[in-house]
Symmetry: C2
Subunit: 280 residues, 2 copies
């Protein structure tokens, strides 16, 4: 019997995954979405070997199900389809928060192996129209297995991550993931939108260089998605924002004091930290 | 007689300029630096038609002199060589602050035309080893002429900017330049180093994605250069930092309040600003 992998939710990540996974270890890749236009686009652009709107039937036939919906959509899908998964199915997700998702997955029947995943890839546009098979090239692939997750499922995800071009697989806990991601991803998005709140934004055309374009690149974000991601990780996120406010204030204060030596020391220290991180 | 253009200071910007300007309107491009190793590297890599350590002589023979030193180096050069410029010479600089430089240039003898320039290009490494002819491709080229600057000198800089690949020439005042650049460039660098001050920096390897790499790219900065740039623009810079602290705190507070609708509205507003800026 043909092995089947379902990709549920054909947005930027799900669509890219369905494209990138074609040919992986003989699996038939089945793209699932509720939107007919998305399904048509996916079928026309090779996102999966076939597509369908029938999630329940597809899930029943699958040995692997990847949930690529928004966080709230994943919670809803798990609830709606908890009875549809076949025994032994590996269920995974690609969501940017892990604790809330892993908690919800506890309600799955015994024998369904749920492993949280987070490929650290994306772009500033969303939807299947932005999907591309190369999206995951060079990205970290973070996984948060349960203690009882099957080693062969972890090994399969490692091969899958390599197949789609990820540079490595980082195995961690949901709590650790959420604490660190608040810093490396969520605050970068908060920063980008906060920079765009400046009253000078529209006056600055013609004066922007690479650093401004890079920092604000992700500011035109998917509002419902990021509202959910931020809301599901508020305690960790607000802690990191508060720390960043402190570090910015420290720079402002040393500038206001006119202490050039102090400013030099601070810049030397921060830039050295950056250089050191790259070397480790 | 051959027209001569001197590029004084063969670092990242000066070296790139000396490479990019070769062949421009028949000028002989002469690279000047005090460091013999830099001169040797410049000569071997086509930074200018010839190089020399003799700044005074080179300046005397030049009809255009581009000062590509650190801000304090530019102030020193103007003082040391004020008597060396030939009458009618166009003197320009490429420095990231303009008011302090334009003020110092007031001391030049009558008949020397000083026009401030700021090509909005750079990279996260410095020195002639990082120089490349393509550095200015697509960058804005900002100029701050004096009221009495000769129109033919402004026109020449416009042709020069186009020759090295800049996308446009933005003509403004030194004060306006410094106020806007505090936002579009200087705060981006303060942000990058402040993000690297987070105690989790070294724990985050394996969890970083594109947004983190982009935001911290410029953090490994040239400490003496940026100490000078920040110190020469402190009032404008601290104002922008304070505004950014406010905007970050506003995001933190709406998150802490648990007001999901308020968070959605804020994200919709900021991301819409970003989209609007791109379209204008």
């Amino acid at each position: 019997m043909k092995k089947t992998m379902v990709i549920a939710g054909l947005g930027l990540i799900g669509g890219s995954l369905a494209m990138a996974l074609r040919g992986f270890e003989g699996y038939e890749i089945v793209g699932v979405d509720i939107d007919p236009a998305t399904l048509a686009f996916a079928a026309a652009h090779g996102a999966g070997d076939r597509v369908t709107g029938g999630a329940a039937q597809a899930v029943k036939e699958a040995s692997i199900v990847f949930l690529c919906l928004h966080p709230a959509g994943i919670l809803r899908f798990l609830e709606e389809h908890r009875g549809d998964f076949s025994p032994g199915t590996l269920v995974a997700d690609v969501c940017g928060v892990k604790t809330a998702i892993m908690d919800a997955a506890e309600a799955l029947p015994h024998g369904i192996d749920f492993i949280g995943c987070h490929p650290m890839a994306g772009k500033e546009t969303s939807g299947i129209q932005s999907a591309e098979a190369g999206l995951f090239q060079g990205a970290h692939f973070i996984i948060t297995p349960r203690r009882e997750s099957k080693p062969e499922h972890v090994a399969l995800l490692e091969r899958l991550a390599a197949y789609i071009g990820c540079r490595d697989v980082v195995n961690t806990t949901p709590e650790r993931h959420d604490a660190i991601i608040a810093y490396t991803s969520q605050v970068m998005h908060i920063l980008a939108v906060a920079v765009c709140d400046d009253p000078e934004l529209f006056a600055c055309k013609g004066f922007e260089g690479g650093s401004f374009r890079d920092c604000t690149r992700v500011a035109a974000l998917d509002v419902p998605l990021w509202t959910q991601l931020f809301s599901m990780n508020t305690p960790a996120l607000t802690k990191v924002i508060a720390r960043l406010e402190d570090h910015l204030r420290a720079y402002r204060e040393v500038l206001e004091s006119g202490d050039i030596e102090g400013l030099t020391r601070k810049l030397a220290d921060s830039s050295e930290r950056k250089r050191r991180m790259n070397l480790e």
